[in-house]
Symmetry: C2
Subunit: 367 residues, 2 copies
C-alpha cells in the first residue's frame, strides 16, 4: 500500500512545484491521512524540498504508532509539547526552502503567525484546496471501502426496521443504530446519526431528542458507517403504523421522484448544478420553494462532506469514480417531511451508469 | 437565565474596551455557548460597539432554533451561504468600529483574510484567550451541571461493573458505556470513551480496539457525560479475575498514592505545577521516568480539556470554584498499566477542601 501514498505525495509535490512552491505543509487531518495512510492526533505532513516527514506531537492522546501509516515515510516525534507546524517551518527553513505552501483554510491565524516567527525568511504561500482536489476522484480501493461502509449501514438500518419502534426515543434509536454499525464492522459512525420523528422528520441534520415514536409519524433516519476512514451516508423515511395518510403518500412520492431524477442525472461530464436542478425542479414545481433542502448532495470519502457540492450555485462538472450523495428532502414546519438519501459512485454509461452503494429499499414502508 | 449571559458579555466587553477594542468577534463554539447559552452550528457572536448580535449561517445542519439561547440576544440568520465572520466584519464596519478583536487561535488564515477584504479599514486585533480566561472559574449553576454529569458517569460505570466482562471487546464495552450515559440523562459522551485491556491498559486516550477482555488483565476505563454542555471525566482501573498479581497490586497502590497526593494538593492559591509535582514525584521516585503520563490533570467545563493545565511547565495558580481532573497514570509497554482519574472542584479549606464529583470507589476491584 505504501506506493499508493507515495504516489499521491508525488502528485501533490508536482502541483506545488508547478505553482512555484517546492515545499508544502499539510495539516488538515483528512488530508494527512490521504497522503500517509494514517493521522495520529495533531500530526502534520511536511513535503520538504528533500524528503517527506510526518511530524507528530507528543501530546496526550497522540498515538504515533498508527499501524496503517505508510512505513516508508519518516516520522519525527516532537517532545516538549511544541506545535508540529512550527517545527515544520523550522525544518523547511533549515533545509533551505524559500517558500512553504500551507493550508490557509485549516491553519489558524495564531499558528500561522508562530510559523512566521520561527522562520521569518520563509515565505508562507497558500496550498489552498490542492489536496482536497486530489481527493475528489477515488481509486478502486477507496471505492471498495465505501462499498463496505454502505453494506454495513444497510445492515444496521435493516435490523432496526425489524424491531419495535413505537414508544422509543429518537436518541435511543440513534444510539442503537450506532451500536449496530460497530457490530457489523464499522470503525464508528461516519457522522452523528440523525433520527427524526413526527414534526422533526425530513429535516436535514436533525439532532435526536427525547421525542418518542408515535403511530402515524413519519420517521426519517440518516446514518453512515466509517470503514477504514471512508464514510458513506444513507437516509430513509418510513411511516409508523399500518396506513400512511394521503398527504404522506403524496409527499413521499414527490421526494422519491426528485431523488430518482437526481440519481439518473449522475453522469461523467454533467454539471454539478444540473444534478441539483434535476431534483429540485420537481420539488419547486410542486410548490416547495421554502421547504426543500438547500443542497441536493455532496461528495463523500475520508470526510462525510467533501467536494463536489450538488447545489444551485455549484461550479464544475462530475468525473467518473466520484462518490456523491443524492438527498433531496422536504420539511413542512409543524408537520414533518421526507428525506431520501443514497450514496452512489458516478460511472460511465458504458459501465452501467451510476453505481448505487446503499441498496436498502426506497419503497414507502409502513412499520 | 438571560442575565447570566448578558453579564458574561458585559465582563468580556469591559476587558476588550480596556484593551482598546470596543468590538469583538467570538467564533469558537464553546465560547459562543458560554456567552449566549447556545451554539447553533457555525454561529458567531459579535459584541458590537452598539449592540450584540448572534450571526447564524443558513447552512445545512444549522439549527438556529436553539431553545436554550439567550432570548434577549438579537439573532441574524444569514441566507445565501455567506461566512458569518465575514458578515460580522461588515456589520462592525458599518457600525463605525475602527477595530475588531478576533479569536486568532480559532479563526483560519483564509477566513481572517476574507474579513480583511470585506472591511479593509477595520483593524483586526487579537482577542486571544479572553473568553477562555473568563470560563476558568465556574459559577454554582455550572458546577451543578458538572455534578450531575459526574453522577451520570458514576451510574454508567457502576452498571458496567455488574455485567460480565470477559470475552467482550474494548469497542463494545465503550459503546455500552456511551449508551448507558445517555440512558441516565446525558446529552452524549463528554469525549470518546476509552476502554483499554491488558497491554493497552493505563494508556491515556487509548482508542478502543477489537481486543477482548481476558482473565488476569488490567482493564482501564475512562468516560464522561455531557450534561447541558458541561463535561466531566472519570477513569478507573480494575483487575479481571479473582486474584491480582503482585506487580498489579504494587503498581495500583503506587498510582493510587500519586493520585491521592494530587487531589490533596488542590487548594486555592496552589501553583498548577505543584499539583503536578505532588503526584508525579511519587511515580518518579518509583522509577517511572518515561512511563508516566505527560500531564497530571486539566480543567473541565464546556470543553473536556480546558485551562488550567496541571503539568510540569504550567504557569499560574488555582482559584476556588475551578473544576479539574487529577489523572496520573503509568503504562508499562507490553504489560499494561494503571490510570486513576477524578473530576474535582477546587474549594477553600474552610469549605471542606476539594469537592470530589466522581465518587466511584478507587479500591482495586477484581471483577
Amino acid at each position: 500500500m505504501s506506493e499508493v501514498y507515495a504516489d499521491r505525495r508525488v502528485r501533490l509535490r508536482d502541483r506545488c512545484a508547478a505553482a512555484g512552491s517546492p515545499a508544502a505543509l499539510v495539516s488538515r487531518p483528512a488530508n494527512v491521512r490521504y497522503l500517509t495512510g494514517g493521522s495520529p492526533a495533531g500530526a502534520v505532513l511536511l513535503l520538504g524540498p528533500e524528503e517527506d516527514v510526518l511530524l507528530c506531537p507528543a501530546a496526550p492522546g497522540a498515538d504515533p504508532a498508527d499501524g496503517r501509516l505508510d512505513e516508508l515515510l519518516r516520522q519525527r516525534l516532537l517532545t516538549g509539547g511544541g506545535d508540529p507546524v512550527v517545527a515544520a517551518a523550522d525544518v523547511a527553513r533549515r533545509a533551505g526552502a524559500e517558500a512553504l505552501a500551507v493550508e490557509e483554510h485549516h491553519l489558524t491565524v495564531a499558528r500561522h503567525r508562530a510559523m512566521g516567527s520561527v522562520a521569518p525568511s520563509l515565505r508562507l504561500a497558500d496550498l489552498a484546496g490542492a489536496v482536497e482536489q486530489l481527493r475528489i476522484v477515488k481509486d478502486e480501493d477507496e471505492i471498495a471501502c465505501l462499498r463496505i461502509a454502505a453494506e454495513i449501514a444497510d445492515q444496521a438500518l435493516g435490523e432496526l426496521l425489524e424491531s419495535i419502534l413505537v414508544g422509543r426515543t429518537e436518541r435511543h434509536l440513534a444510539l442503537e443504530l450506532e451500536r449496530r454499525l460497530v457490530d457489523h464492522g464499522a470503525d464508528g459512525p461516519a457522522f452523528p446519526t440523525s433520527v427524526a420523528t413526527g414534526p422533526h422528520s425530513g429535516r436535514g441534520g436533525h439532532r435526536p431528542t427525547d421525542r418518542r415514536v408515535e403511530e402515524g409519524d413519519f420517521l426519517s433516519v440518516c446514518l453512515g458507517a466509517n470503514y477504514r476512514g471512508y464514510r458513506c451516508e444513507i437516509g430513509r423515511t418510513f411511516v409508523i403504523g399500518t396506513t400512511p395518510a394521503d398527504w404522506q403518500i403524496e409527499l413521499y412520492d414527490l421526494v422519491f421522484a426528485a431523488q430518482r431524477a437526481g440519481r439518473e442525472a449522475l453522469l461523467p461530464g454533467a454539471e454539478c448544478r444540473d444534478i441539483d436542478r434535476a431534483a429540485r425542479q420537481i420539488l419547486l414545481a410542486a410548490g416547495h420553494t421554502d421547504t426543500c433542502a438547500p443542497l441536493t448532495g455532496h461528495g463523500v470519502g475520508l470526510e462525510i462532506d467533501e467536494d463536489p457540492q450538488l447545489a444551485p450555485e455549484a461550479m464544475g462538472k462530475l468525473d467518473a469514480c466520484v462518490p456523491v450523495t443524492v438527498e433531496p428532502g422536504v420539511h413542512l414546519p409543524g408537520r414533518g417531511g421526507v428525506r431520501i438519501d443514497d450514496t452512489l459512485v458516478v460511472r460511465q454509461e458504458a459501465d452501467g451508469g451510476p453505481e448505487l452503494l446503499t441498496i436498502t429499499t426506497k419503497e414507502l414502508l409502513a412499520l
